[in-house]
């Protein structure tokens, strides 16, 4: 218990990812769904850094930079879509956005 190992970091990463997944499934506010996705991306980042440092490979650290860049792009485009949808429907409830439902 006194020494923190790779398994502890990976378990924390799994717990954070699960919290994010539960948030995506249970919330209807589109902005909070986006925040839950950010929690999941950060959990993946933690796993990347843990593995990179434990096996001694820089690729994992560089990949974290790419994940952060993709998250920034995703947040910008996603929030722009939310703003555009809010103009149409006056709400950010994901259940109100049914235009693409088959």
């Amino acid at each position: 218990m006194s020494e923190v190992g790779v398994g502890h970091y990976l378990t924390l990463s799994a717990i954070l990812f699960t919290i994010g997944a539960i948030g995506v499934l249970t919330r209807k506010n589109a902005i909070i769904v986006f925040m839950a996705i950010e929690i999941m991306l950060n959990a993946a980042n933690l796993a990347f850094v843990t593995f990179a440092m434990s096996i001694g490979d820089l690729g994992g650290l560089v990949m974290v930079l790419f994940v952060i860049a993709v998250a920034a792009a995703e947040a910008a485009v996603g929030l722009a879509i939310i703003v555009a949808m809010y103009r149409h429907r006056e709400t950010v409830n994901v259940e109100a956005f049914t235009a693409m439902r088959g």
Binding site: I31, N42, A72, N93
Partner: protein, 171 residues
């Protein structure tokens, strides 16, 4: 118990607590602020993993830029007060809880807590402080990973143009 171990347990507990508050809070502004705390905790965890550059990037880009964007949209759409009870209907919530607990249980059963990798990477013998330094990451980014780096720049440009086009008021 060493200092690193104490830091890990404190940061991990605060990160889990705040991420739970993010998905349970009724007020979107409170969610954003709890998420900022979660990101600071993850930056601290990166420091305990000797990855100081990524900790700085985490604070500057995530907590500084992306979360300000979130807060901006919450304020812009005037969502500061909870307007409807926005937790999903009971069947979906039950599915989410079962899936979540099942996922953590499956990971525990697979023994992720006991995982011990072997140091076989290209930089296996390098000291962690050197491996996680700005110089090492910059060298890798501008040599082995220069093509993905350029593609990332293109991605950010496309995202910027896309955000402007999507959020523009149609005339």
């Amino acid at each position: 118990m060493t200092g690193v171990a104490i830091a890990f347990w404190v940061l991990a507990a605060v990160a889990v607590l705040c991420s739970l508050l993010v998905i349970t809070s009724r007020n979107p502004v409170a969610s954003v602020l709890y998420l900022v705390v979660t990101f600071f905790c993850l930056a601290g965890l990166f420091v305990t993993l000797h990855s100081h550059f990524l900790a700085a990037i985490q604070v500057i880009v995530y907590a500084g830029a992306i979360m300000v964007l979130f807060l901006f949209v919450v304020m812009l759409l005037n969502l500061g007060t909870p307007q409807w009870f926005d937790v999903a209907t009971t069947p979906l919530k039950a599915v989410a809880l079962v899936l979540g607990i099942g996922f953590v249980g499956a990971l525990a059963a697979a023994g992720v807590g006991d995982f011990e990798p072997s140091a076989t990477g290209p930089a296996a013998g390098v000291h962690p402080d050197v491996l996680g330094s700005t110089e090492a990451i910059a060298t890798a980014l501008y040599s082995a990973y220069y093509l993905p780096f350029l593609v990332t720049a293109l991605l950010l440009l496309v995202a910027m143009v896309g955000a402007v086009v999507l959020a523009r008021r149609e005339r």
